[in-house]
């Protein structure tokens, strides 16, 4: 998850620390401080996509087969998907180093 990124020196900061490039936040993988990740027991999944709808980070999507999938670059491990899942098929598993 860690990237080779060098923070700018003070002379390289744009005026007022403005961000001059639109959409540059896409490059920031913001899921690296997650302590738990959602894991699906797909045999119990009914493809209702409630988890996808409730994800506050928009990092859940639906595969071609209709099952939910998580983009772990952005998932913060909040557990809302697991809490909302109608068949309780999502378990939050601790991240290990």
């Amino acid at each position: 998850m860690t990237q080779a990124f060098k923070f700018p020196g003070w002379k390289d900061l744009p005026l007022g620390m403005d961000i001059l490039e639109p959409g540059s936040a896409r490059r920031n993988r913001t899921g690296d401080w997650r302590s738990e990740r959602p894991v699906w027991a797909l045999e119990k999944c009914v493809k209702c996509a409630v988890c996808v709808i409730f994800c506050p980070e928009g990092c859940l999507s639906v595969t071609e087969e209709g099952y939910p999938q998580v983009d772990l670059d952005y998932c913060k491990g909040c557990g809302i998907c697991a809490n909302e899942c109608v068949t309780a098929c999502i378990a939050m598993e601790r991240e290990v180093e």
Partner: protein, 391 residues
């Protein structure tokens, strides 16, 4: 030809803001600033000033509005006092961090409690370190001139920082004084149109005010410090240009009868005029005393200050604000810090006076100078030295 007119100072500086052709004014009325924004709102309502006047429900909103307005590239003005300034507090830090050249008139008034609508500097001293350029006016003419200067400095491409000019509540704001109003042609020669260095523009989107995570916050604050340091010579240069166009001269530190003075009184704001009266009287009776007036408070003009006090043996510093439980008032502390590393430095004898609208008569200046002379003679003058406290 510019001519002298008698005008209430609040009205005069509102007229000066009109002459500066402000685009947006967002403000909330508070005593003693009220006449400033009241007059501006009338000018806008009467069609005499082509600007947006945005009324708001609080000063927090007024300053937030100014931040948004300035970010779009509009020349933005506001004014406040006391509790209103305090309510702006958290947004005051945002404007300089985003390098937005808002101009604000602060009509200085004591901070509650007890509730006081009268003048001292406790409101502005609480905003000392917010990152705004801060100047102080002594009379009507200075208030008008500093209004114009504030726009020139704030929007200067080498500065781009918000600027506060201070004037004392009632003592100045509500007085009718003779003032030479700037002419439109003079304004055109002195104050160019506002060209923002960066602004919100849908065709060229940028993000203002992103989070400063630990690896970048220090660098961001350092750029602000550098901006303040770099602003110092530009502020002086803008006063030089002011003199060329308007014929009136201003400096960051100004002295009166300082030559050969053993004791220099140090003042900020309108009390400088009473202090001059005292200095004239004292000089006539042989006391070697002069006056040093701090016109520019932030960024602090350390070099000019050190040069101005080089010959003095003691400074009698007047703070119009208390630092409860601290060591001396904010101005005295600043001056002591500036002097600390100097090999030859005058004694700093600090006083707090003129709190919550209490007058500072000529006799008070005499007491302060006598105290400084006593310190020079090796006597102890007990601290803290708050004048006019009844037993």
């Amino acid at each position: 030809m510019a001519r002298r007119v008698g005008m209430e100072v609040s009205i005069a500086l509102a007229e000066a803001a009109k002459l500066a052709n402000v685009d947006v004014i967002s403000a909330y009325p508070i005593t003693p600033q009220t006449h400033v924004v009241e007059h501006l709102s009338e000018l806008v309502a009467d069609g005499e000033l082509d600007a947006e006047f945005i009324p708001v429900e609080s000063e927090h909103s007024a300053m937030s509005c100014c931040v948004g307005s300035s970010a779009t590239g509009a020349r933005t003005f506001t004014a406040t006092s006391s509790q209103g300034l305090a309510l702006m507090h958290e947004i005051l830090y945002i404007a300089p961090a985003l390098r937005l050249p808002i101009v604000m008139c602060v009509v200085d008034r004591a901070i509650s409690g007890p509730i006081s609508i009268w003048n001292d500097h406790s409101d502005i001293m609480a905003e000392r370190d917010t990152g705004w350029i801060q100047t102080f006016a002594e009379n009507a003419q200075e208030a008008v001139d500093l209004t114009i200067h504030a726009f020139r400095v704030a929007e200067h491409p080498e500065v781009s920082l918000p600027t506060i000019f201070n004037l004392d509540g009632f003592i100045l704001s509500h007085m009718i004084e003779p003032v030479v109003m700037p002419e439109r042609e003079q304004l055109a020669a002195y104050l160019p149109s506002f060209v923002p260095l960066q602004r919100l523009d849908p065709t060229k989107p940028i993000t203002m005010g992103p989070v400063g995570i630990p690896p970048v916050y220090t660098e961001a604050k350092w750029t602000q410090e550098v901006a303040m340091r770099n602003a110092l010579p530009v502020i002086e240069k803008c006063w030089d240009e002011f003199e060329q166009v308007f014929g009136r001269k201003y400096r960051s530190i100004e002295t009166y009868q300082a030559e050969g003075a053993d004791v220099l009184l140090v003042t900020m704001g309108s009390i400088g005029e009473t202090a001059m009266t005292y200095v004239d009287q004292a000089r006539a009776s042989g006391v070697k005393v002069g006056l040093l007036r701090i016109r520019l408070w932030r960024p602090f003009p350390k070099q000019a200050f050190l040069e101005a006090v080089a010959g003095a043996k003691a400074l009698a510093v007047v703070d119009r604000c208390m630092t409860l439980g601290g060591v001396g008032g904010p101005v005295a502390c600043e001056l002591k810090s500036a002097l600390y590393h100097e090999e030859r430095r005058p004694k700093v004898v600090e006083y707090q006076a003129g709190l919550g609208g209490r007058d500072i008569p000529v006799s008070d200046f005499d007491r302060m100078v006598q105290g400084a002379l006593a310190v020079l003679a090796g006597k102890r003058v007990p601290e803290p030295r708050v004048l006019q406290v009844r037993e």
